[in-house]
Symmetry: D3
Subunit: 233 residues, 6 copies
């Protein structure tokens, strides 16, 4: 593995990032054509956090968190740290002291395809973490890795400076170059959904709101009254 | 798969359903002879919900939620929608807009052997969902399925009109024809437990309350003082 | 399996146990050289509990909870009951009535490599349980097991009288004979961390606080400005 | 649970069953409209077996195999025993002695949503078993269950007398009343596939054999020469 | 963790070990009262191996296989190496070169609660390995561990010199001090089973061979002719 | 998702690919610095295959295999098809007819992060497949995807034309531009290992061959005679 730190990576624009945060993961994921979702085993350590930030990426050896300390120095306000070990493991790579350091640099949260610990303290600090596991098992500081090279985290490719959106539904990555377009599409989607929502709340059926009845009939959907069904022989 | 919707299925009686809701899953499951429990990977998206309702069943192709829109029209006050895809998958088949539509029809909750999304909004709406996964990954609307045919959901057979009981312990199904008897048995069990509870809270031992000592001795249980044990060679 | 109950096992000292509770799992686990952690699938049924207590161990046949009733009689104030079936299973071996009985004896919580049920009631009672699963599926009372023999629970060896520490990060066991030493080491660790925490909160980097820069350079870590990277051919 | 044995259940016709065996699981599953497949965690203990038989169903308490002994008496030549415990477990419910007894009754194999053991001996005997796990952990004989009532096994509903088809791809159930129709559909499918196979082996493309090119173009598929792609900014 | 190697540990007697190998895992596990079975995720890398040997135990840091090299020196003819990392991981800790070294010392096989690699070569060498995973991912040689201290491997406590029995059904440990008694019990069991086997092969039913009919009737088992069942309303 | 097929992608050189095939996954993975390994849940459908080929990549919607038919046309002699759905699923996307078509084009094998079926036929044809699951569950042909865009498969980034190496240990990807260098490094590694192998087979210890004794002592490794250990109080 390259033992390399890339400095001064360009980030997606702050206003775009904040707009994506407000839309949430499900909307953003739809708006960009259903790409970029991390696998569903990535869960938040407490419910209710909804963030977006620019990725600082970390590639780590198994059971070794040394490079997270290196990565902190590369963090700026509005970043989200994204970590993937080169081999799967559920050790607690991350805890409260590293969070204190990230909070001091105005990092917005952490995404790690591995374990985290000190979850009660992280919850009190409201520093959100999306992880594959919670484990008190610590790690060592023996072997180098890379900061701000492209990585694969929980099945999704993440490049430094990309936008990470995360909430109770999971985590999604948006390419830096596409972030503004995705935000526009996400907002358009929200607007359209607002109209649908009002009609559904008023009791209209999706079958009518979305005009589905004809296509269902074309595909051959049949309605049968319960009383007219014969019992199986 | 039959592309069929069965209409006007008979439901279990409302008063019985509400009685079962009050008893909760563990008691109902015991009262009906330990049948009908869905597998334990079915978890609520937020803690504290405790419901019962009459099943509207939905069988779906993988990664396709079209039939949920069809199913909404078949829902009545007091129903619970129960969904199983014909092949396992963790996509987010269900979200906030569908929930708005179900709330408008006074549906009590959803049980799905797949994924759900918009979980923060569903929590704010207090629309409870028991699912196998949480995922922002959406689905398509391409292929038909069936509404209100018997299905297997998370290992349990569910027929339309059956009673679904769900709380923090999981999900249980009660056959429509047996619901009144199961409720009677569940209440009898609760009454008996109330007496036991008072004695245990007062410090009596289960060994005495349940009269277990003799049978334990018959089976050969031996008590040995710690000090009299020899260390292993 | 021996059908045996060992009585009057010596326990770790109360003051030491309470000191370990205050330190929490991650710190205690580090302080004793990263030994004794139960596997990370052991999760609390509600967030926020942080306890320590002296182990009463229970070895059970699969799907049979009879011996828990036997174990209650052996419990004293300050104990934690630790249960492992002889074959894996996710049934709900434990519920609210057994909890009432343990609360009456001032037991502090339960650790079980299997399932528990009545989780809503247990949460209301604030009786914490760490388990592998939540399931309403009940168990039988047919076959004997052992109380207060050494067991393996979720991958860790536990002897009666050992200290069990448990919080949102998981569960850790400390040998009775080592508990005082581990407490001293844990407190030393906390003191040292307090100084580090203050410096990190003030914005100092871990790279400087821990003096890592030289060793990183020795291992060959390279810093590269983003603009100077060539794109991949 | 009903402690009941249903005797003299009607079976699907032998010639139909044997015809389905020759078609194999994937073809039969397609031919009946993609219904009836057991979940993919059901795996054969050795490769190469391909069977079909008529179901004798067994519902068992967790970790208790007593009812398998009861079920053997109900078996006839050409049957397959299908077993599901009422709560999940990976114990070895089945082994070589039970297999000897089933072989003596000309049973063709076993399907069990749990564990099996003595797999080396079963392989030598060529008695095929599809199971969720392999485990030497034994079971008890304490509690009754049911033989030849409808069950759910690995997510599929199975009734006594239904046809079970099993091979290296997994296990599929065919309703007794539909077996002849499904066989006809499966054979038609095989015939059609034979023609396709010959053309594909000769080097024709599926795009042409199935006539897909127009529909792909209609949906918007675009072909781009590699050299004309711009690198990502 | 103690960085310690214990030398010259006493081993179980060779003749007893070889006797246990011939009995196999399922029989040995039953014969010692169903204790000592490793969890069922421990699988052989090729089918058909059946061994027993005396344990050389290795406790390792995560993703670090240095101590296996240390352990080889402690191995004698007839040993089986048993390895557990202090934190779960599926890396390939073991491969062909280490196997060559163990073969040179007449080690009989390896049991590892982690990953192995070079499985094609290990199969050609007929050096059997039971592992949790197969993975080409390598490990480092940075941190010490322990050889021949008691460990927990896949849920079972193993002490140096204990007997490890392993075959296609899994892995079982027998305490050194109990090995001769367990062998006697296993052989008695085999003898008894031989008589039962002959009767079952001849077509007698287990219900009669084991005399189960009366106890089943006492428990309330009912036989119902299929034709006399009413269909469900 | 882009509905796009990229044609005429450059491939790694055939001689290099064949050289990597001969080295195998574990050696290649080490030789390129432990990068590029797919996750260990990717398993071959039969043991003993060892291949390398140039990647044709396919990104698919969930439960839809239409694009595999499109991909076949892009295949040339020496390719390996690499498939990842945009959402996880274990359906059988691939079977014998598609294999016939690939064999006709001299494709060497298939890697798919999903399910495959017709595994008995594929084994007879000796067409090797590495997959996450085996399942007879079919897929539809409704929605477009992409061929020969970069994908993430089982956690590894794969670009068209990269080298895929696969054997019983799993699957590894080598960047096209690095393939010749990796082959050189792999062969150097094999040569070095040949010398070590001979010494280990002759009975020398790795401790001496690798010269580890001094570093172990420096790190504090202690040897203790078994007889001199005190039993735990």
């Amino acid at each position: 593995m390259s033992a390399m730190v890339v400095t001064n990576c360009p980030r997606a624009e702050r206003a775009v990032v904040d707009g994506l945060a407000a839309c949430g993961v499900a909307t953003v994921h739809e708006a960009q054509g259903r790409r970029g979702l991390l696998q569903s085993f990535m869960r938040p350590i407490y419910p209710g956090a909804q963030i977006a930030g620019t990725a600082v990426t970390v590639s780590l050896p198994p059971a070794d968190n040394w490079m997270i300390h290196v990565a902190v120095e590369q963090c700026r306000e509005g970043d989200v740290v994204v970590i993937a070990p080169t081999s799967p493991g559920d050790q607690g790579f991350f805890g409260e002291l590293l969070a204190q350091s990230m909070i001091a640099r105005k990092v917005r949260g952490l995404v790690i395809e591995a374990g985290t610990r000190d979850t009660a303290e992280l919850t009190r600090l409201r520093f959100p973490v999306w992880s594959r596991a919670i484990s008190a098992q610590g790690t060592v500081k023996e072997t180098l890795g890379a900061v701000n090279l492209p990585i694969v985290c929980a099945g999704a490719a993440v490049a430094p400076g990309d936008v990470i959106v995360a909430d109770d539904d999971g985590v999604c990555v948006v390419r830096r170059a596409e972030a503004a377009d995705v935000l526009a599409a996400a907002r358009a989607r929200e607007e359209k959904e607002a109209g649908v929502r009002a009609r559904l709340q008023a009791g209209e059926l999706g079958l009518d709101v979305y005009g589905m009845r004809e296509r269902l009939a074309d595909k051959g959907l049949v309605y049968v009254e319960h009383g007219s069904l014969k019992p199986e022989g």
